[in-house]
Structures are given as C-alpha cells and as structure tokens.
C-alpha cells in the first residue's frame, strides 16, 4: 500500500512562511509594549506558542501510539516517533526562550516560580529517555511496542504534571490565558497568529520528516530489488527510528 507523505507539503510550507512572517511583523509593529515588563514581554509571542505546540505534540504522539497498538501498522509508530521527536526539539526551544525571558525579567536564568519552565524541564527530562529507550531495544516490533507504551504513559503524564506544578508554584509570571483575555485586542490577535504559525510550522516539519523517512525506506527497498545478491549496503544496523 503506497502512502505519500509529501502531498500538500508545498501548500503547507507556503502557508507556514506567510503566517510566520505575518506573526513576526505583527510582533514588531502591531503588538503593544507591555506596561510593566516592557519590550521583554514580546518574547511571550514565541515562547508560549512553542510551548503549546510542543505539549500538543507530546499528547498527539501518545494518541498516535494508541493507534499503533490498535492497528499494528508501522506508519503509526513512525508518526508517533516523528511527532515526539519534533516536540522534544520544540521543548528545547521553550526552555531556552523561557530562560532568556526569566533572565531578562528577574535576573536569573531559571526560576522555580515559573510553572511553564518547571514543567518543561520535567517533561523534557522524561522524553529525553525516549530515544535511548528505543535504541536499546533491537527487535523492531518490540521497539515499536515499548515506545508506544512509553508515549502513551508520558502523553498522559504531561497534563497531570502541568496541573500539579501549577498548583504548587506561585504564579508570578503572567499566564497566557489571562494575558490574552485581559489585554488589549492587539495582544490576542498577535498571539493567535503566532500560535497558528507555530502549529503550521510543526505540521510542515512533521510531514517533511515523514516524507524523508518514506523516501529512505523506499530507496532501500529499490536497492534490494535491483542489486539483489551483491547488495553491500543492505545492513541496516541498530536504529532508534522506526523502520518502515
């Protein structure tokens, strides 16, 4: 059964570029300068959308893992892997931009009062074990199964952790929700555009990576067909990524 992942990729990437540029322009020109935080507040428009998309990605990865366990089709494991993989990258971005914000606002590179930063630290530490876990299981079917169990457990853990840390820390940092509901309309608009831009970017990158993996797997199949016996490069070795 042939699945093509690159379909619609062109339209998606154009949409991503347009939305992203609009978002950044809005941040520079349209969004107001915050009364108490000053220009520093504008980091919010890159930090929070990154965070929301990353968290969504982790949960989506869990859902795709459920689909894999139900259907046992390799492509669901592939989707889960790519989504989680990209969310981890975004999570690093959240931690770095959050650090910069903390440093600019309160003078420290990390603050425990900031629930978003703390949750992301914990979640990042958890998901950082995803790749090593996959890599250490050689049998591809077992690897996919165990990775899916992990993705489901971790995906359920994310909202719980968020709730727990929120409960614990004093919120000295203005929450995204309150900002967009209490602030002027321009804040809301800019935030929503930035959020859509990040979401589009995430989906585009996911499709991009899945198409790339699909191509690699197809090339390998082709090689096996054409080269037959004298195929020196057929040894795939161990890999953390799912084999299609």
């Amino acid at each position: 059964m042939t699945i093509v992942y690159g379909k619609g990729l062109k339209a998606l990437s154009i949409a991503t570029v347009v939305t992203l540029l609009t978002a950044f322009t809005l941040v520079l020109t349209y969004a107001p300068v915050d009364a108490d935080q000053g220009v520093i507040q504008k980091i919010f428009y890159v930090h929070v959308p990154l965070a929301i998309v990353a968290l969504g990605g982790f949960i989506a990865g869990g859902v795709m893992a459920i689909m894999y366990l139900r259907t046992r089709e390799r492509r669901w494991d592939m989707r889960s892997y790519v989504t989680i993989h990209l969310s981890i990258v975004l999570a690093v971005g959240v931690l770095i931009t959050g650090s910069i914000w903390a440093r600019a606002s309160w003078g420290h590179w990390f603050v425990w009062d900031e629930p978003m930063l703390v949750v992301f630290l914990i979640v990042f530490l958890l998901y950082a074990t995803y790749q090593p876990l996959r890599f250490s299981i050689e049998d591809p079917d077992k690897q996919a199964r165990y990775a899916s169990v992990f993705a489901i457990t971790a995906g359920a853990f994310v909202p719980l952790c968020f709730g727990a840390v929120r409960m614990a820390e004093q919120v000295t940092h203005p929450q995204a929700a309150t900002m967009t509901t209490s602030g002027p309309g321009s804040v809301t608009v800019t935030f929503l555009v930035a959020l859509s831009a990040m979401t589009l970017l995430f989906i585009t990158l996911c499709k991009y990576e899945m198409a790339s993996k699909n191509v690699t797997a197809t090339v390998r199949r082709l090689r096996r067909r054409l080269a037959g016996d004298d195929d020196q490069l057929s040894a795939t070795g161990r890999s953390a990524a799912p084999q299609l």
């Binding site: 220009v39 520093i40 910069i100 914000w101 600019a104 990158l205 991009y208 790339s212 090339v219």
Partner: protein
C-alpha cells in the same frame, strides 16, 4: 553597530527570536545532509538499473545454441 543600537532588554528579545530561527535552520541543515545522501543513493540505483537493462539486452541478443 546594530547590536549596540538595541537596549539590553531588546537584545534579550532579539536573542529569543534568534534561538527560534537557529533551531529551524539547524533542522534545515540536517535535512539537507540527508537529502544529499539520498541523492547519491538514488543516482547509484539509477546506474544499477541501467546496467541491468544493458545486461538483459545483451542476454536477449545472444543466440541460444
């Protein structure tokens, strides 16, 4: 220069956005490396396929004694 023209807090904001850009560009670079490797393999495979065609043509032309 441009950097000193920004106040220190603006530098932080610029830094944050640059981090985001850097992440995207690093991803781009990794994908570019993958693509070049893929191109090499596909070219090799195309060669293999053409060689295979040539061999088959020769085989067809050989008379069966």
């Amino acid at each position: 220069m441009l950097v000193t023209a920004l106040s220190s807090s603006e530098q932080y904001v610029a830094g944050a956005y640059l981090v985001f850009l850097a992440l995207v560009l690093v991803y781009l670079a990794i994908m570019a490396v993958k693509l070049s490797r893929l191109e090499r393999e596909v070219v090799e495979l195309a060669d293999l396929a053409e060689r295979g065609d040539a061999v088959r043509e020769d085989r067809v032309k050989e008379p069966v004694a």
